[in-house]
């Protein structure tokens, strides 16, 4: 079953208290940030801190690090310091070309070999934050087998687009649609941008409902309080869970019997139906609605 990435929570990489507690909020992924939330004068300290915290603290979720862009003076050093701690995932901001992904892929491969990690064990994702990047979205997600997700970074993107964020979100509609399409075409997950006004819960719920309908797998969050609301929106209904269980049972039964055609209540079950059912059960387990543990275990 696919790894769930409903809530990917940013944590400033220079804040020991937040880093220490990052694992308690049930985010599917924590993203330790050494990019925008860290001042240039603190980059080196944040890198060291993130390295040490990954090595020391046992997190109950996926651990990602958002590095500085590989073309800045900090990106390569970020990788050099952080990769030996073995994060699960590296998030590249402001991705614009497949080349960048390939460069990072190579650096990760070298680090994996040098540190004795299994090849391919460190995954990658990228965030689209410019119009140029959006035009290359599919190439970016297909540039490395390490790529597991494509995210939207709206703040920089809208500045590039020469517009601002609205309550209805129409300014992001095009980008979101393209990111979903590119991600799906490349077989990776699609992650929506952060919602920065943490006190406007109503607008957060509206936006999250919208992006879930569009097909996004999850959303970047900046405050733990957003996680519970987000999971509620991504939670399947009891009816959906029941159906999914029956679909999977019929599928298993057919597999056991080596039967080619699978049907449930007279309807044919094909691969997309099974995939959807697996996804529903994944969400249900992650929320404790069904036994079996989440796919993050």
């Amino acid at each position: 079953m696919e790894k769930l990435r409903r809530a990917m929570m940013f944590v400033p990489g220079n804040n020991p208290g937040m880093l220490q507690n990052a694992g308690i909020y049930k985010a599917d992924t924590v993203i330790f940030d050494v990019e925008d939330s860290v001042l240039i004068s603190e980059k080196d300290a944040a890198r060291q801190l993130v390295h040490n915290v990954i090595k020391t603290v046992k997190y109950p979720c996926e651990v990602a690090v958002r590095i500085n862009h590989i073309t800045t003076p900090y990106g390569k050093e970020d990788l050099a310091v952080i990769l030996p701690a073995k994060p699960d995932l590296i998030r590249l901001p402001k991705a614009e070309t497949a080349e960048e992904i390939k460069i990072i892929d190579e650096i990760i491969s070298e680090a994996e070999e040098k540190n004795g990690f299994a090849h391919g064990s460190i995954k990658m994702m990228a965030a689209i934050e410019t119009a140029k990047g959006l035009m290359k979205a599919y190439e970016i997600c297909s540039a490395s087998p390490r790529m597991v997700a494509l995210a939207l970074g709206a703040e920089d993107f809208l500045a590039d687009l020469k517009t601002t964020r609205s309550s209805h979100g129409s300014e992001l509609f095009g980008a979101r649609s393209q990111i979903i399409l590119a991600a799906r075409a490349a077989g990776v997950q699609a992650i929506d941008t952060v919602f920065t006004n943490v006190n406007d819960e109503e607008a957060f719920i509206a936006e999250t409902t919208r992006i879930k309908e569009m097909g996004f797998d999850g959303k970047s969050v900046i405050n733990p309080r957003q996680i519970k609301m987000l999971y509620k929106i991504f939670a399947p209904t009891e009816k959906e869970i029941d159906l999914a269980e029956r679909v999977l049972a019929a599928y298993e039964e057919a597999k056991a019997k080596n039967s080619g055609v699978i049907a449930l209540n007279g309807k044919m079950i094909d691969v997309p139906v099974v995939t959807r059912a697996e996804r529903v059960i994944g969400y249900a387990r992650a929320l404790g609605l069904r036994k079996g543990g989440s796919t993050n275990d």
């Binding site: 208290g17 220490q20 507690n21 308690i24 909020y25 020391t56 603290v57 046992k58 405050n223 733990p224 309080r225 404790g288």
Partner: protein
Amino acid sequence: MINKAGRDIPLVIPGFKEVKLYNGAFGTVPTGRVVGPKITVNKPRSEKIVKSIDQAIEATGLKSGMTISFHHHFRNGDYVLNMVVEAIARKGIKDITLAASSLTSTHDAIIPFIEQGVITAIETSGGRGKLGELFTSGKYLKKPVLIRSHGGRARAIESGELAIDVAFIGAPACDTYGNINGIEGKSACGSMGYAMCDATYADQVVAITDHLVPHPLFPISIPQTNVDYIVEVDAIGDPKGIASGALRISRDPKELIIAEYAASVIEYSGYFKNDYSLQLGSGGASLAAAQFIKEKMIEQGIVGSFGVGGITAPFIDMLEQGLFKTLFDVQDFDIPSIDSLRNNPNHLEMSASYYANPHNRGPIVNKLDVVILSATEVDVDFNVNVITNSNGVIMGASGGHCDTAAGAGLSIVVAPLLRGRLPMVLDRVHTIVTPGETVDVIVTERGVAVNPNRKDVLENLKEANIPLMSIEELQHIAYNLTGKPEAIPVTDDIVGVVEYRDGTILDVIRKPV
């Protein structure tokens, strides 16, 4: 001698006639009789009103060596205690025992009078800030500060262990013959619960008010039959310090996680059903838990019988929505609670004895199903410390902690597992305020531990979607992140004595090195 909580208590403590060792939460059987105040007479048409606090002190005949008492309903806004102590000092009276139901940082103003020997002994619920530091220093006071719970103080007053010569009562509204309530006037504080015991048992009672009204005042919380003298002053307190606006639900994500787990513990504990009763602390996680509990009560159509406290706005909200039938109120923390006591007939004022005295015929805590309490630190034996900090300095108050833990069917202690770099689940708490045998569940942001003597609760909680673990596992998580803290080095000097609610000695506080 080692007491039943495993603490080494010296058999002789300076200033204490007798050292009775803690012998288990219900191990001590009381003997003797309830004491009473001196019999007195008030002739018809005599005048109770005196012109000043100084005159009232003279009228009571207060002398060096006596014991005076105060109540802490004005919290950080209290003017009364400081005014009276200052007046006593002016008169050259010394060697006074101060028995305040609690002390707050506003009472730092009496420090010079402790240094000058005006006050030489203190019996209270705790101490904060500079006063707490002074207690811990062991300087000036003739005997260790005696820490009592709210229920324990009521018991000590009724048994005569705490004999009050003069009680000074800050009266938000007082009539010309001494009837008092706390719900009227500019310094309204709500319930007068702690003062009720003082007024009933003190040899003499002085009401100090900034809202003197014609006789008779109604409703009456403390009756004219208990009051000897009345003084009118400009202000008895600062309303801003007495009560806050409606307390906001915490937005601290860590507190919210703890609150959610605590609410789940209640939901699955086996106690969550119609007519259950609940007490909430006033700490952030406890108040946040109220919000989650309220949602669960509405969802499941559960109506509780009564709430107890320390009353705060979230409780008022639940009372008004019909989620609880009644509130029993010993103290109010915010304006909505004071308004409710004034206006809602289902919101009942109670005395500290009715609340929590273990040696009467039944305090309300004995009927309590669930209580949520906070903690400074806990240990693997489930003991709780709320009084000394990580340097061994007094910085908190016992309050009703051990009373409600002992009385409630299910006592839940909420605390962060880590505060900064410090673990909060230790091998041994520095000071025991609530013995582990009365604590059922400890809830932290990283896990929930059930006292092994509550297998029933543990079994029920397996259904809840919460991270259940043993207290040792919880400690292991904390120590893995922080390392094992070293014990606080202390001297042999005893600066504080923690009395259990039944009058036995639960622990002593030794002066840190």
